[in-house]
Amino acid sequence: MTDDTDQLTDIEQDALAEIANMGVSRAAHSLRQMVGKEVLLSVPAVKIVTRQAASKLVERNNAKKLVAVMQSFDGPFAGRALLIFPESQSLELVRSIVGDEHSLEDVIDLEHEALAETGNIILNGCLATIANVLHRTMRMSLPSIIRGDGAKLFEVGETNSGGQFVLFLYIDFSIKKRNVHGFIALLMDLPSIAALKDIVNDFINGIEKQPSSHVG
């Protein structure tokens, strides 16, 4: 058993990546209903990092103007889920969803609502799949939109109880041949990360155990 609550073992990483991939695929299915064309979403990597590190990771390629859709969740583990894009990518994403025939101005008008809804679909896809696969019920809030740099999104420098760690996922989107990259970050305190790891390990152990004789 692992004591390093701030690190993921290989198999835990795999389990979370696999669950996250199922979650975003479910979201892709919903998005496809709106977009009318194939939507591909995948989670190539999952890791646990500090909020400080997360604030730097989301600013890769020096993109400091970020847009995030935020939902809080609670249940056996609690925290906030953020879907984060550099501002330029968020407009690109909205345009690919609402359609090319709109002018840039129209897209900017529609951006807030379209982003809130798209973010809601993706975050719900992930959170609901996590709840489903791990056999737990969770409560989730409605989406809100936050803009700022990495430090603002991850509240670096503010003293608050816990909330030190972030379950960080890179996500790749492909909609109508446009590629958009973003991130999903689950901000949780140490007890919640520990609870999540316990539940994931139960899940993994459940798979490894041979069930009592059962004819399929």
Binding site: M22, S25, R26
Partner: protein, 125 residues
């Protein structure tokens, strides 16, 4: 009659889930586990059935199915994926491959394997 099944998935957990399901529904069959298209193509001639994850880096599952079809036009093959979109299911069908959704259930896997066994028995001389 025990068959040999190729499992292609880059996720160790997903391979474990698959192996666990097989232990429950077809314990006497054997599995060959591979993590990417290259390993899969190297092993495909040694197996009777193939189960392929769609979402893999590099060559994706559907591309791999197309390659396998070039040398094994009749092998029962299924794409396994959480991505239940018309385009993906449609392309699998065009390649004469089945589709099994993730999260994997014993029922969905058993249904595909029953169909596969029938095809293999019919094809056997």
């Amino acid at each position: 009659m025990p068959y040999k099944v190729l499992v292609v998935d880059d996720s160790k957990l997903a391979r474990m889930v698959m192996a666990s399901a097989f232990r429950r529904i077809r314990p006497e069959w054997s599995l060959v586990e591979t993590t990417n298209a290259d390993e899969a193509l190297a092993a495909v001639s040694t197996v009777d059935i193939a189960l392929i994850d769609f979402n893999m880096p590099g060559t994706d599952g559907l591309e791999l199915v197309a390659r396998i079809r070039q040398s094994h036009p009749g092998m029962p093959v299924a794409v396994v994926s959480a991505n239940i979109q018309d385009e993906i299911v449609g392309r699998a069908r065009e390649l004469n491959a089945g589709f099994i959704p993730k999260p994997l259930t014993d029922e969905a896997l058993a249904a595909f394997l029953s169909g596969a066994m029938l095809r293999l028995k019919k094809a056997a001389p």
